[in-house]
């Protein structure tokens, strides 16, 4: 049997786990591993400029492909820098394996140089973690890490490897396990058939149903099954922020995103629903508003792979634990085989009601903002123009804030995995490295980072990594010269006292900044130039382009839930309330 060092075993095992790209940053404790990387060409390493960005990129690579992302960081500060990235992936259930180097075992506990207890510090942000103590254990641990990360409810797994374990002078036999089995971890593979039957009966009897679909449908590759079921039933579908694209944004049955900044029609329909089919969604506080006033007349069917997501914040009448794709197709099979029929006249009336809500206050059918004029560009119009110019086909990443909500509301995502954003943790700085991850996964696709002048500065150093690795992402800055979402809350709840949301003329010149990194910078201040400049931007296929677009400083994101309240309690504009 072939003898290899721990460093070589690690890289070989990552290749055997089908890793093509490893995002990382070297350092002392990781030197043996980096030497092993140098001496092989099975997987490519992408040198980033900060460990947080390395993990975000690996995370977004996974979001855009469904494969497990992989990142490598050194001990100490490398490990702590990675934490924000790991926590981001954890909150959004993204399958990820993060390798952190550790000081040699003999030094552990001595406060050695660049020592940090990575297993301890990462514990609340991981699905699981391992410290590897012998080179003989590396391959099996990597196999387990990938198995755990990618099955059940996915999530990040940390593998911490002390430097002595990768010692080039200590060679042991290499064998990658063909199968992984853990007696303490057996994810559910099917839904309970009795529960599914009950759910189907309830669903068919509904008079005012809503299908509420979340990130689990994207992660569980259940979009096709969701579409088939929704079409068969002709029921309205709403997606969470994490679920956008699972059901086509341009479909007639789509009533928009729900929640804090959801559409009037989605939130109002939820409130009045008699049956809610929640699938791969977790009744997050940004969706439900006050849980004691949540959808008072609804019976709730809740499908989720993770039992702890069911009845956590909102009681479920029919809980079904299982993978979304399998459960949805079982439901559809029962409906087809039994030739079951919905209450068509009630559903017809329900649609009439929804269409009336749509026409009255919808964000697509009615206008929720004053249109752009001259040098006053509305952020919403930027996203609409982006959708038009990219034909709705781009991979869109975002950071966190108003721009994120505008992108979620106005870029109508038709496909799952097209929309990459930090929904759970809400991590500013995610957008640019996420776009890089998606671009690496889909080299020929158009990849856009929709960001703000605040968020982009949180991982802006990655502009250099874009150059080095030829990742021609496009960066659209909705520049309102303020931390817009915080400012919006200060407007609404703090008497417009703008505490630390303004930059006092300290904003960089983004055009020059782009040029300093060898990229193209564009500044747009007039609405009549917006579309043509954007066409120009996206025509530069092989260049990174930053479009710094000056948008209206005063714009707020609407609708917005009135809190605490029910789903239907919303601000529709600065002056108008439901």
């Amino acid at each position: 049997m072939e003898l290899l060092s721990g460093g070589d075993i690690l890289i070989r095992a990552l290749s055997d786990a089908k890793v093509k790209h490893l995002w990382g940053y070297p350092g002392g404790a990781a030197l043996h591993i980096y030497d092993a990387i140098f001496r092989q060409d099975n997987l490519s390493h992408i040198l980033m400029r900060h460990e947080q960005a390395a993990v975000h990129a690996a995370d977004a690579y996974s979001r855009a492909t469904g494969e497990v992302g992989a990142a490598l960081v050194t001990s100490g500060p490398g490990a702590t820098n990675a934490i924000t990235g790991i926590a981001t992936a954890y909150m959004d259930s993204i399958p990820l394996v993060v390798i952190s180097a550790q000081v040699p075992q003999e030094k552990i506990g001595e406060d050695a140089f660049q020592e940090i207890d990575m297993i301890g510090i990462s514990r609340p942000t991981v699905k699981h973690s391992y410290m590897v103590k012998r080179p003989e254990d590396i391959a099996e641990t990597i196999a387990k890490a990938f198995y755990i990360a990618s099955t059940g409810r996915p999530g990040p797994v940390v593998v911490d490897i002390p430097k002595d374990v990768t010692d080039p002078n200590n060679k042991v036999a290499y064998k990658y396990p063909e199968k992984v089995k853990l007696r303490s971890y057996q994810p559910t593979t099917r839904g309970h058939s009795g529960q599914i039957k009950r759910a189907v009966n309830l669903l068919m009897s509904a008079k005012r149903p809503v299908i509420y679909s979340g990130g689990g449908v994207v992660l569980g590759n259940a979009s096709e099954q969701l579409r088939a079921l929704a079409r068969r039933l002709n029921y309205p579908v709403t997606n969470t922020l994490m679920g956008l694209g699972a059901f086509p944004g341009t479909d007639r049955q789509f009533v928009g995103m729900l929640g804090m900044h959801g559409t009037f029609e989605a939130n109002t329909a939820m409130h009045h629903a008699d049956v809610i089919l929640a699938v791969g969604a977790r009744f997050d506080d940004r969706v439900t508003n006050a849980t004691d006033r949540f959808c008072p007349s609804a019976k709730i069917i809740h499908i989720d792979i993770d039992p702890s997501s069911i009845a956590k914040t909102v009681r479920a009448d029919i809980p079904i634990v299982g993978p979304c794709d399998v459960v949805l197709s079982d439901m559809l099979d029962q409906i087809q085989q039994g030739d079951l029929q919905t209450d068509e006249s009630a559903i017809g009336e329900w649609w009439q009601q929804i269409d009336e809500w749509r026409a009255r206050h919808g964000i697509y059918t009615a206008s929720r903002y004053e249109p752009s004029t001259g040098d006053n560009i509305k952020p919403q119009d930027v996203i609409k123009t982006l959708h038009k110019v990219t034909k709705g086909e781009a991979y869109v990443s975002s950071d966190v804030g108003q721009h994120q909500m505008f992108a979620a509301q106005y870029y109508l995502f038709d496909k799952p995995r097209q929309w990459l954003n930090s929904g759970g943790l809400g991590t500013m700085g995610f957008g640019l490295p996420a776009a890089m991850g998606a671009q690496m996964a889909h080299p020929d696709a158009t990849v856009v980072c929709v960001t703000g002048e605040g968020s982009i500065q949180m991982c802006i150093q990655e502009l250099a990594a874009c150059t080095q690795h030829q990742l021609p992402v496009k960066i659209i800055i909705l520049n309102n010269q303020a931390l817009g979402m915080v400012k919006q809350w200060q407007d609404m709840q703090y008497g417009s006292r703008y505490s630390h949301v303004l930059y006092e003329d300290s904003l960089p010149d983004f055009v020059k900044l782009a040029e300093a990194y060898g990229h193209v910078g564009m500044k747009v201040t007039r609405y009549d130039e917006l579309e043509s400049r954007m066409e120009e931007c996206f025509a530069m296929k092989d260049r990174v382009v930053i479009m710094d677009i000056s948008v209206d400083h005063h714009e707020h994101v609407y609708p917005m839930h009135v809190a605490p309240g029910s789903m239907r309690d919303m601000w529709l504009s600065k002056t108008e309330r439901t």
Partner: protein, 163 residues
């Protein structure tokens, strides 16, 4: 309501910290905790007492089950079960108090496991409430130290928590 939760856990480094961490991370209380390896050295058995309504306990058991190192979880308080806790107590035992403490220990079916000229070390075993009652019953006696193991428990009858 007080609940007794029993967990079968992989006997791996760090697995206890994952359980304890889960409780602090999600804002659950641990009133007592006892843990040790079982007859199968690869497994540990952990028993903890906590307080919460049904909804909270349901979440706790679900979240515990979600930990990769957790093999099985059961809420012992749901059914007939036996619970025991051991307490060692060092108490001043001089003069008139000496005989009175001895009587008290006998009533509680405890044992005096160490005797000094002025102190006793007393061992009491039973349900937590009995241990509390013993402390109460000591009245004016001067307690120097108390150490309790935390509760451990088993289901009555033939059902058992096994792989």
């Amino acid at each position: 309501m007080k609940r007794l939760i029993s967990v079968l856990l992989e006997n791996e480094p760090g697995s206890l910290s994952r359980v304890v961490g889960l409780f602090s991370q999600r804002g659950y209380n641990i009133d007592s905790l006892s843990v040790a390896p079982t007859e199968d050295k690869t497994l540990s058995r952990l028993t903890l007492t906590t307080v919460g309504d049904d909804h909270k306990i349901e979440q706790i058991t679900k979240q515990l089950n979600k930990l990769i190192d957790v093999v099985k979880v059961i809420d012992l308080s749901e059914g007939a079960h036996i619970e025991r806790e051991l307490m060692l107590l060092k108490v001043k035992a001089g003069g008139a108090a000496r005989a009175e403490i001895k009587r008290c220990v006998d009533i509680f079916r405890g044992q005096i496991v160490d005797v000094g000229p002025t102190v006793y070390v007393v061992q009491i075993m039973g349900e937590s409430a009995k241990l509390d009652a013993f402390i109460e019953a000591l009245g004016d006696a001067v307690i120097l130290e108390v150490v309790r193991t935390g509760v451990c428990g088993l289901m009555r009858g033939e059902k058992s928590l096994k792989i």
